[in-house]
């Protein structure tokens, strides 16, 4: 016995597990990248320019965000757009389940995998390089969930506005690289020049990188960062709901 909703979630989880590319980038790659960066000795040294934090400490939060960027910018839109193109959504409209439930199931599966990847990153940082765990875990979790919500909304917008897989791919790439930049993949946000740091913090991943780091240090995350993420999530969700086509 299973309810329709659990059946579709289980189904989407199983289908996700059959996509080795998505599994690798979302689940494994962030931790691998962290481990690679941690091998650079100077990254492990406390840096007075970074308020005494080491580069690798900052990168833990960056790779935590990296998994959700892959998910929202690339993997989830890929699933949803192929479902629309293959008329799976249309097919589900004729069943008691309805097509919105498959989107919900996708969000649940992606959120679960991304969260697992985040725990893995925290664990790898802690065990391999002795990076600190968040001193304000509740704040950390709150910021994390807001960041995740904003990335899921990004995925929904790409799925909604891209008419086909080719356009989606272009959008995905553009979103992915700009979000990776604002998350601090190329240069941690805290190490950016002040002006750039300010600009970046008005984007969801930039705000998330700042707020996560504050929670790690045991500070209360700035409201402005939470506001930025919430506003992006709300605006993107609205666009997605307005623009989404089932067929």
């Amino acid at each position: 016995m299973s309810s329709p909703t659990t059946a579709i979630i289980r189904n989407e989880a199983r289908l996700f597990s059959r996509e080795p590319v998505a599994v690798f980038w979302m689940l494994a790659f962030p931790s691998i990248l962290l481990a690679g960066l941690g091998l650079i000795p100077s990254f492990r040294e406390p840096d007075p320019n970074l308020g005494g934090q080491s580069v690798i400490e900052l990168y833990v939060q960056v790779v935590v965000l990296l998994s959700m960027i892959f998910s929202g910018a690339q993997a989830m839109p890929e699933f949803l757009i192929s479902y629309r193109q293959r008329k799976v959504l249309r097919r589900l409209r004729t069943t008691p389940l309805g097509p919105s439930r498959v989107i919900l199931a996708q969000v649940v599966v992606h959120a679960a995998v991304v969260s697992l990847a985040a725990l893995l990153c925290l664990l790898v940082g802690r065990v391999a390089f002795g990076t600190p765990l968040p001193e304000a875990p509740v704040g950390y979790a709150l910021v994390y969930l807001l960041a995740l919500a904003s990335m899921m909304a990004v995925g929904a917008v790409i799925s909604a506005v891209a008419p086909n897989a080719t356009v989606a791919n272009v959008l995905s790439m553009a979103v992915m690289f700009s979000f990776m930049f604002t998350a601090g993949v190329y240069l941690p946000v805290q190490a950016m020049p002040d002006a750039l740091q300010t600009i970046v913090s008005f984007f969801p991943m930039g705000a998330a990188a700042e707020a996560l780091n504050q929670a790690v240090l045991g500070e209360v995350p700035d409201l402005i960062h939470l506001g930025v993420m919430a506003a992006w999530t709300a605006a993107l969700s609205l666009i997605a709901v307005r623009a989404f086509r089932w067929e």
Partner: protein, 320 residues
């Protein structure tokens, strides 16, 4: 025996896409347990009509009821009584046959046991195969199976046998007959005449968004100018023009040594009388019933000739 309760009622359905009128004043009633065919060329409005019945589209005007349910406002209730196999709808590439059946079974309150269904559809040996690895015919059969797994009271099958080989086609036809035996109402959308003639209790022929004719296959054939086809050989020259002028004859042609006469049910007798008058003794005389092909072309010919001769050339080609 069929009850007379209506399973599907369509009343004065209209639908246009921008300037193009897709369905115009279509009305019909499908009785419970009936196999009802909707036949017509591509673009005639068949799919739009069934999409309106399945709640996938709203008509611009008119009314649809499926067992009393309004599909345009109450899709949740509709999906419990109506199962549909959609043209071209696919499944995720990597879902297996059994997983798809399991998932679909979980969506309904009272599903039929799917392994039996899979066997009937010839999918029993492929339950572990992924959708993307199935042949087109197998995908089609899986799609039919998913339409039926919820134990619907009304099954809509759109282009049921397109892309199936002759054997698979026969198997799928048997499934429709089984549904009929179980009292399930079937709406069969097709442009295959033989399929409609073989399976349907009644057929609506749709042309340019309107119902051109609606009757049993036999009655449709009888009503046309080509209810019978009379063929014979003659050893002497026959005055074909005289045959053509007979009141009951619609068409006369010469085909590889045989003369072929299409006409109403009384045409054969008149032809023989006329041949007798000409002093011709027909040999190898055969009189066969016309088929739905000729009936269909006959019924749609007038509209085609006047309304959209150029536009529907492709459609007619495809039907042959």
């Amino acid at each position: 025996m069929h009850t007379t309760t209506a399973a599907v009622e369509v009343t004065a359905l209209h639908k246009r896409y921008g300037e193009k009128v897709a369905v115009q004043d279509v009305s019909f009633t499908v009785r419970q347990g009936e196999v009802f065919g909707i036949l017509g060329p591509n673009g005639a409005g068949k799919t739009t009509t069934v999409e309106a019945i399945a709640g996938l589209r709203r008509g611009d005007a008119g009314r649809v009821r499926v067992h009393g349910i309004d599909p345009w406002t109450d899709r949740a209730a509709l999906t419990k009584v109506l199962g549909i196999q959609l043209q071209e709808a696919q499944l995720p590439e990597k879902i297996t046959v059994s997983e798809a059946f399991e998932l679909w079974s979980a969506l309904y309150d009272d599903p039929v046991p799917w392994p039996g269904l899979a066997d009937n559809l010839g999918l029993g040996e492929h339950v572990d195969r992924r959708f993307g690895k199935l042949s087109g015919g197998q995908q089609q059969r899986l799609s039919i199976g998913l339409a039926l797994v919820g134990n619907p009271r009304v099954a809509v099958l759109d282009e049921l046998s397109t892309g199936l080989d002759p054997r698979a086609r026969r198997e799928v036809w048997q499934i429709v007959r089984d549904l009929r035996t179980r009292g399930v109402t079937v709406l069969l959308v097709t442009h295959a005449m033989d399929e409609a003639q073989e399976l349907c209790d009644r057929i609506a022929i749709v042309q340019h968004g309107r119902i051109a004719a609606l009757d049993t296959p036999d009655a449709l054939i009888r009503a046309t100018s080509s209810a019978t086809v009379t063929t014979f050989r003659a050893e002497v020259a026959v005055d074909l023009q005289a045959l053509r002028e007979l009141a009951t004859v619609s068409e006369v042609r010469s085909e590889v040594g045989r003369i072929v006469v299409q006409g109403t049910e009384d045409a054969a007798v008149q032809v023989i009388d006329e041949l007798h008058r000409q002093g011709v003794r027909p040999r190898d005389l055969r009189v066969v019933e016309g088929n739905l092909d000729t009936a269909y072309l006959d019924l749609t010919a007038t509209a085609t000739a006047t309304a959209a001769a150029a536009e529907s050339t492709d459609d007619v080609e495809e039907i042959r």
